[in-house]
Point group: C2
Chain length 193, copies 2
């Protein structure tokens, strides 16, 4: 083997760690495996980060950060609730794809560590903010009345989050924006011609 010349920034190392966590599960992944995947020594890794949970925290902060940020974008905060909701659904799908490994890690967090529990709290807060928007759109008479707003919110989250189960960069013809638009179109107008 040739001498390794890979150099990492904290960000590029985090990316390798997140891929490993998604592949093996956070609990199952070791710092030794990370060193192997990154092609550097364990001590080089500790030069960048304090440890595994540190990286989990950084990754989940990134995922929740981008999702909260989109809720504060102008199109998510002004106008009729149904239009804001539609914007949030497509943007959340777009962001999920753009930040796929990070959001996937967030969606798989099960609360086994303090960091995971913190992330679940943040995720619940996100869900509440979107559920509020759904309730508001329903109150404004813009959502079909035969589906309870709580159920509608769950189906919306389910549809958006399910993209993480099948989307693989480069494989599908559709990019982040296009998939986001398709998700919003199905969710609000349905698949029927």
């Amino acid at each position: 083997m040739s001498q390794q010349r890979v150099t990492y920034t904290p960000e590029s190392l985090l990316r390798v760690a997140v891929e490993l966590f998604n592949e093996r599960g956070y609990d199952g992944a070791s710092m030794g495996q990370l060193a192997e995947a990154a092609g550097i020594t364990k001590s080089s890794i500790y030069h960048h980060v304090r440890g595994k949970e540190d990286m989990l925290r950084l990754a989940l902060e990134r995922a929740t950060g981008v999702l909260f940020a989109l809720l504060d974008e102008p199109d998510a905060t002004t106008g009729r609730a149904i239009d804001r909701l539609r914007y949030v659904v497509w943007r959340a799908t777009e962001v999920l794809i753009e930040e796929l490994p990070y959001v996937t890690l967030l969606l798989r967090a099960r609360g086994n560590t303090e960091t995971e529990r913190w992330a679940l709290d943040r995720r619940r807060e996100l869900d509440h903010r979107v559920a509020d928007l759904v309730a508001r759109a329903a109150a404004e008479g813009d959502l079909r009345a035969d589906i309870e707003p709580r159920l509608a919110a769950r189906l919306l989250f389910g549809l958006v989050n399910s993209v993480s189960e099948w989307y693989r960069p480069g494989r599908s013809g559709a990019g982040p924006r296009q998939v986001g638009e398709a998700v919003a179109a199905v969710a609000f107008d349905g698949l029927t011609a």
Copy 2:
């Protein structure tokens, strides 16, 4: 502790095993944990089944069996493709809820054992049959033209399967049939009033 008097049929023992597999992951679950969860001895378990993979196989056969069966129901095999598809979407949601632990196990199968690989093959076959129905409905002009049939199929699967992430028996007001109808309504007609 009082002397345990629990008796199991192969089916009721399987149910306990499936709950354990879903909670700990199939790879992480041991026969010792199963004995503990069931409140019987390991040797009593081996009276019913040959081992862990045997139970995985039975559980995944049950999940794939009910899903294939619904594809052969009259409303899934006669009429216009869009109507058959709509029927399949709501029935698949209903079956997913009725057989929640079994279908959840199927959706989490990752191909780590021969049985899991067999289940993934069956799942792929199911996906193909539904994707064919989507393609046929698109060819008949009944699906919106701005979403590619392959993407439409993925979104449909995603929406149906996502129900397994949040549905908890007894917690939600909506039952299997009602959630199935809501999923089909959103998928084909959208949430907009």
